[in-house]
């Protein structure tokens, strides 16, 4: 099933650009003692697309362009964007330390292993938590949210108007196809 530009736009339509954590960040201010390292835009996009190929089911195509277009709306200079780039920087640093290459250059099996080694599989997401919790929030769940709030992601499961997607007030009336 092909992920399209419509899916990326729809995912952004569901989530917007700011991100849920941005509200808290704006309210609390930045109390960190020092600014975290941020991945540059190229690294962020390449890393997120590489991770998405692990997280997304094999039934979907067009992952690279979907992630790229989705990130067009999420890497907008907001507090959420900064958290995302910081989490990617930490993941990339771990990839280099443990596997000798950036995330985007690892094999799919090594990317899967990296995510589990850093603890993102068992961590509960938390935008202000440990590295594992932040990778879960800003990388893993960011990408899963983008997919499963989109029409194509929803249709994979059997719901063409998933929660978060403004897919109209007709589909709930229709029976199974």
């Amino acid at each position: 099933m092909e992920l399209t530009r419509r899916d990326a736009v729809a995912a952004l339509g569901a989530l917007g650009a700011a991100g849920g954590a941005a509200l808290a960040a704006a309210k609390a201010g930045d109390s960190r003692a020092e600014a975290p390292d941020l991945a540059d835009e190229t690294t962020t996009r390449a890393s997120m697309a590489a991770v998405a190929t692990v997280l997304y089911p094999t039934a979907v195509d067009g992952v690279d362009s979907f992630v790229d277009e989705f990130l067009d709306g999420r890497l907008d200079g907001s507090a959420h964007a900064e958290g995302l780039r910081a989490a990617v920087a930490e993941l990339d640093e771990a990839a280099r330390a443990w596997h000798g290459a950036p995330v985007a250059d690892l094999s799919e099996a090594d990317r899967d292993r990296l995510l589990r080694e850093i603890g993102a599989d068992v961590a509960d997401e938390d935008p202000e938590g440990t590295t594992a919790e932040r990778v879960r929030y800003y990388v893993v769940n960011e990408l899963l949210l983008a997919l499963y709030a989109s029409p194509t992601g929803g249709e994979l499961v059997g719901i063409e108007n998933p929660q978060g997607h403004p897919g109209g007030a007709q589909s709930y009336q229709r029976g199974p196809r």
Partner: protein, 534 residues
Amino acid sequence: MSGGPIDRTPVSDADVCVVGAGPAGALVADRLAADRDVVVLDAGPRFDPADRLARQERAIRPSYGRPDVWDVGGERDAHANSGERVYPLNHARVKGIGGSTLHWQGMVMRLHEADFNSETERGVGEDWPIEYADLRPYYAAAERELGVAGASDNPYAPPREEPHPMPAFEPSYSDSLFAEACEELEIDMHSVPNARNSEAYDGRSACVGYGTCQPVCPAGAKYDATVHIERAETAGATVIDRAPVQRLEHAGDRVTAAVYATPDGETHRQTADAFVVACGGVETPRLLLLSASDAYPDGLANSSGTVGKFFMDHLFAGAGGTLDEPTRQNHVGFYTSACDQFYDEADESLAPFKLEFFNYAGPSPVEQALTGEDWGDALLDRLRDGYGTHVAMGGLVEQLPRSDSYVTLDPDRTDDHGNPVPEIHWSVGDRALRTIERANEIQREILETLGADVEWVAGPDATGPAYHHMGTTRMSADPDDGVVDADCRTHDLDNCWIASSSVFPTGGAMNPTLTIAALALRVADDIDDRLSAA
């Protein structure tokens, strides 16, 4: 949002001061703003409409609890529980411009005629000092104000004089499955009124199916009270956010000022000719209790001793399970069919109750995707296994007013301004618990006839509140029995009204907001008449 400093100083020569910018306060303010100088004070912030998608994201993501969606919690919202059941107050309210309509479900039924005469008709509870007929024109006006999508296909609904402002939402696919079982059991299904646009209405769009109605509608298709606050401001009202009222001051039998705090640490006095307390079923009695004086040592307007007493909510009764066929759930976040057939069978031993046929049974795949240790094909397999065949029913049950269910002040804990926090002492009686069992019986019968494998039942032990706070400043003809009179004006103070579900002597089993809205419009008319007469 404007970049300059916000002026939160009092309005001089105000006619009406409204405390609380939820639906009751907003409707009063809007109705009076064209001809009166109105000021509205609210404890919470003015939320930026541009943040609604981010708040929706919070509603979906697992790291945020329900209170986080609208920034509820912290010292400002501290509270205590002392009753037999824990009351999750901060899940049940939003403070800010729009109030709890920002997170509500948006269901808007009229109370039944017998609900106004519970003691006479059912032998328990209290009679209201007004009848359904007194509120009937205001119900119709409230439906127009909120924008209600509904139909006249409910044979059990009280009489109405005109169609709803918008057509009802069409039944869901799963409603059609339930209909077969209900027909076999001779149980009637009918449409349900929604304060949600089934078509464009009042400058707001039709529902676009975000599916997160409760706790946030990014489209604005679900009514919330920012609609009337904005309209009131356009008509000239002044709305001051982040201005928690600390106490009401009085001289003799008249309230003279609302003393409020502002974020800069200042305290101000807003004077007015008339005051409307519209802070919901918990903060309304709290404010009166915090306003105790030498003349009213037990709390302002509390000569009857009933301020804070008779705290009520509706109790949830539900059941659900799975079928061996697709049920098409979680496309929208509201329900489209209900059953009021058993409502007016209420008597001394059984309470009124209504039944709801859910369109959001079982897990939402998006939310499921964000938890668990799997991804890729394994995650997709789990989501497919978890979604698609769920069905569920809900229902609301009346609880009676009880002297052992109340809101008071906690003497041991204070909020961010040093005021004692509310203490909730919530107790539920046997009549309500018996009625939950009765509702469960019918729900189980319907589900089993449908062929469902019943997997859960929310009965008397698992029930919870519907977040409808009622009863804590009740309406009474006799000043010894309640806080406000039939006009919702306090018995004790000539220029103080209460617009809130806190004035309900009994709660019925219908969602309260349409009744809150109708009473608020009636309060506005009474204030207007009395100010004109003065």
